[in-house]
C-alpha cells in the first residue's frame, strides 16, 4: 500500500526537479555514461580522453545551436549540415588561389546566402521551415558538386589557424574551446538578455500574439536563419580544421545528431521552450555514447539500433517528466 502511494509522489518530485533544473538529470546521465565507460575499460577516463571528447563534441554542439535557435520559433534548420560542408569545402579550395582571408570570406558569404534564402522563404513566403531548409540544403549540395568540377585541378589547402583551432592543444586543452567558449557565452547571453533572444521565445510561444504586439515577423525570421547559417558556416571552418580532408559530404553526418542533441537537451520542436546549455550537454552525451558503442565492439547495425533507442528513451523520459499538466 505504502509503495503505491509513494511512487507517484516520487515521480512528481522528480518531475518538479526536472522542470526547475532541466540540466541536472542531463548532467547525471552524462556522468552515468562516463561511469559505464570507465567500467567497460578501466582507466579510459583521463585528461587526454576528456580533451578528445570535448574536441569532437564541439562541432556537434555548434551545429546544435542552429537547431536550438530555429526550434525556439518552432522551425528547424535541415540545411545546416550542407551549409557547414559548403563552407568547409570552399575555404579549402579558395585558400590556395586567393589566400586565407578571401577563403574565409567567400565561405561565410556562401553560408550567408543560403541563410538569407531560408529566411526569405520562411519569413516572407511562409514556407514550412522543414521544407524550405531541406530544399536549400539540396540546392547547396548540388551547387557544391558543380563547383567542385571547376576547382578539381587547383588542389586544396587548409589555413593554418584552422588546423591549429581544430587539432591543436594548449596546456592540454583542445584549442577549439577558444572558439567555442566565447561562442556559447554569446548564444546563452543573447538568448537571455537581448531583445532578439526574447523575440525567438515569443515567436515560438505564440507567433500571432507577438505579431500583434508589434514584432516584425519577416525581419526576425530573416535575421534568425541568416544567423543560423553563419553559425553552420563557422562550424564548417572548425570541422575542416579538425578533419583536414575536404569532401563533398564532410559535415552531413552531423546534421541528424545535431537535431538529436538539441532535442535531448530539452528544446521543444514545437517552439517556445529550450536552452542552449542543454543542447551542449546533449552533444557531449551523444559523443560519449558514440565512444561507448564503439568500445562495445558490436556489429555496426546493433550500434545504430542502440543509438536510436537511447535517443528515443531520453527524449521520452524528458517529455514524461516535464509534461505541462
Amino acid at each position: 500500500m505504502n509503495g503505491r502511494v509513494e511512487k507517484p509522489r516520487l515521480t512528481a518530485a522528480a518531475g518538479q526537479l526536472v522542470r526547475d533544473h532541466p540540466l541536472i538529470p542531463l548532467v547525471a546521465l552524462l556522468f552515468m555514461l562516463s561511469g559505464v565507460l570507465e567500467l567497460l575499460r578501466p582507466g579510459i577516463i583521463n585528461p587526454f580522453w576528456l580533451g578528445n571528447t570535448v574536441k569532437f563534441a564541439t562541432p556537434l554542439a555548434m551545429l546544435a545551436a542552429c537547431q536550438v535557435l530555429t526550434m525556439l520559433t518552432a522551425g528547424i534548420d535541415l540545411s545546416a549540415g550542407a551549409v557547414a560542408t559548403v563552407s568547409a569545402f570552399v575555404v579549402a579550395t579558395v585558400t590556395p588561389l586567393f589566400g586565407v582571408p578571401a577563403g574565409v570570406g567567400v565561405a561565410l558569404g556562401a553560408a550567408l546566402v543560403v541563410g538569407l534564402l531560408n529566411g526569405f522563404g520562411v519569413g516572407v513566403a511562409r514556407v514550412h521551415p522543414l521544407i524550405m531548409t531541406l530544399g536549400t540544403g539540396l540546392v547547396a549540395t548540388g551547387c557544391l558538386q558543380v563547383y567542385q568540377r571547376f576547382v578539381i585541378a587547383t588542389g586544396t589547402e587548409i589555413p593554418h589557424f584552422l588546423e591549429w583551432l581544430g587539432t591543436g592543444r594548449s596546456f592540454g586543452i583542445p584549442n577549439g574551446l577558444f572558439l567555442f567558449v566565447p561562442f556559447s557565452i554569446l548564444v546563452l547571453a543573447g538568448l537571455r538578455f537581448t531583445g532578439f533572444g526574447r523575440l525567438l521565445f515569443a515567436f515560438g510561444s505564440n507567433e500571432h500574439a507577438s505579431r500583434l504586439s508589434g514584432a516584425r515577423c519577416w525581419q526576425v525570421y530573416l535575421a534568425l536563419y541568416a544567423l543560423s547559417a553563419l553559425i553552420a558556416g563557422v562550424t564548417g571552418l572548425l570541422y575542416i580544421g579538425m578533419i583536414r580532408a575536404p569532401s563533398l559530404s564532410l559535415a552531413n553526418p552531423l546534421l541528424l545528431p545535431s537535431v538529436a542533441a538539441a532535442v535531448i537537451g530539452g528544446t521543444s520542436i514545437f517552439g517556445g521552450r529550450g536552452s542552449y546549455a542543454g543542447a551542449v550537454i546533449g552533444a557531449l552525451i551523444l559523443t560519449v555514447l558514440g565512444t561507448m558503442l564503439t568500445l562495445l565492439q558490436m556489429p555496426e547495425g546493433a550500434r545504430r539500433v542502440l543509438f536510436g533507442l537511447i535517443i528515443l528513451t531520453v527524449t521520452a523520459l524528458h517529455a514524461r517528466f516535464t509534461e505541462q499538466n
Binding site: I131, V139, L256, V259, I269, F307, L312, A319
Partner: protein, 318 residues
C-alpha cells in the same frame, strides 16, 4: 463539373505539367517512346511507394523520417529469405515481408502515440534503429529474388496493350488496393479528421491514437512494397537506405499534401513522383551535368511550395 475541377485543380495541373514534360522529352529525344516510358516507370516504382507511405503519415498530421530505413529493412528481409526459396515459398516470403512492414509501421505509430514525443523526433530515432536492423539482417548487399517477381516489373503487358508498362500496373494496383478501401471507410475519414484538427476529431469521438497508429501501419505497408520493389528491380538486397526520404517529402509537398495534415490525397504525390523523375531524365538526355539535377530538384521543391504559400496568403487576405 466546375466543382469537380475546383476540387481537383492541383492534380489536374500536375497531370497537365506531366503531359507537357513528356512532350518536351519527346522533342529533345525523338527516340523516346514506349521503352523510355517503361524504364522511367520502373525507376519511379520505389519512389512512388515511399511517397505513398509519406503521404499517408503527413495526411494524418505526422511525418515519418524512417521511410527509407524501413524500405531497406524490408528489401533485405525479402532478399535474404528468397535466396534459397522456391517459387511457392517465395510467395509466402512476399507476404511475410509485407507483414514486417506493417509491424514496423505499427511500432513507429505506437511509439509516437505512447511517448507523446513529436512525430519527427520519434521517427528520427527510429531512422537509426531501422537502419541498424537492416545492417544486422544483411551486412553487405547480397541475397536474391524470385524470378517471377523480377519478371513482374520488366517490360510491358504483352499483346495489344504491350505499351503499358508492367511496373505502372503493379504500382497502380498495389496503391489502390491498399488506399481506396481505406479512404472510403471509416478509417479514412478518421485519418483526415485527425489530420485537420486532432482536438476536434477527439471531441467528435474519433479514436485519435488508434487512427494515428493505423496510418503509420499503412505507411509501413507501403514501405514494405517499396523495399520489395527495390529488391525486384535490382535483384539484390541493399542494407544502406537510398535517397528516398528527401525525394518522398519533395513529392508529397509538390503533390499538394499540406504538411500539418488533413489535406490532399495519394494521386497528386504519385504524379509528382513522375514529374520529378522525368525532369531528372530530361536533364540527363540534354547532357546536363547530373549534379545540376540536384539543384533543379531542390529549387523546384522550394519554388513550388513558395508559390503555393503566397497564393494561400493572397486567398486568405481576400
Amino acid at each position: 463539373m466546375t466543382r469537380w475541377i475546383g476540387k481537383h485543380a492541383w492534380n489536374i495541373g500536375l497531370a497537365a505539367l506531366l503531359a507537357a514534360l513528356l512532350g518536351v522529352t519527346k522533342l529533345i529525344q525523338p527516340e523516346f517512346g514506349v521503352s523510355g516510358v517503361e524504364s522511367l516507370t520502373r525507376a519511379a516504382l520505389p519512389f512512388a511507394f515511399a511517397t505513398a507511405a509519406m503521404a499517408v503519415v503527413v495526411i494524418v498530421g505526422g511525418i515519418d523520417l524512417s521511410v527509407a530505413s524501413m524500405m531497406a529493412v524490408t528489401g533485405v528481409t525479402a532478399a535474404v529469405l528468397m535466396q534459397h526459396a522456391g517459387d511457392g515459398s517465395s510467395v509466402a516470403v512476399t507476404f511475410l515481408t509485407l507483414l514486417v512492414g506493417v509491424a514496423m509501421g505499427t511500432v513507429n505509430g505506437s511509439l509516437v502515440v505512447l511517448t507523446k514525443v513529436p512525430d519527427i523526433v520519434v521517427t528520427l530515432a527510429m531512422l537509426f534503429v531501422w537502419e541498424g536492423v537492416a545492417l544486422l539482417i544483411l551486412e553487405a548487399p547480397g541475397g536474391a529474388v524470385a524470378d517471377w517477381l523480377m519478371a513482374a516489373v520488366v517490360g510491358g503487358l504483352g499483346g495489344v496493350v504491350d505499351w503499358v508498362p508492367r511496373a505502372l500496373i503493379l504500382m497502380v494496383f498495389c496503391i489502390s488496393v491498399v488506399w481506396v478501401p481505406i479512404k472510403r471507410s471509416r478509417l479514412g475519414l478518421s485519418i483526415y479528421a485527425t489530420g485537420s484538427d486532432r482536438a476536434a476529431a477527439f471531441r467528435s469521438g474519433v479514436a485519435v491514437g488508434r487512427t494515428r497508429v493505423a496510418a503509420y501501419a499503412v505507411a509501413g505497408l507501403f514501405c514494405a512494397l517499396g523495399g520489395l520493389s527495390l529488391t525486384m528491380i535490382t535483384g539484390i538486397g541493399e542494407p544502406v537506405p537510398g535517397p528516398y526520404l528527401l525525394a518522398s517529402v519533395a513529392a508529397v509537398v509538390l503533390g499538394g499534401v499540406t504538411l500539418g495534415g488533413g489535406r490532399g490525397g495519394l494521386l497528386g504525390p504519385i504524379i509528382a513522383v513522375f514529374i520529378l523523375r522525368l525532369i531528372r531524365l530530361m536533364l540527363t538526355l540534354m547532357a546536363v551535368d547530373p549534379n545540376v539535377t540536384t539543384i533543379v530538384e531542390g529549387a523546384i521543391m522550394v519554388i513550388v511550395v513558395m508559390i503555393g504559400g503566397l497564393l494561400t496568403l493572397k486567398g486568405r487576405r481576400r
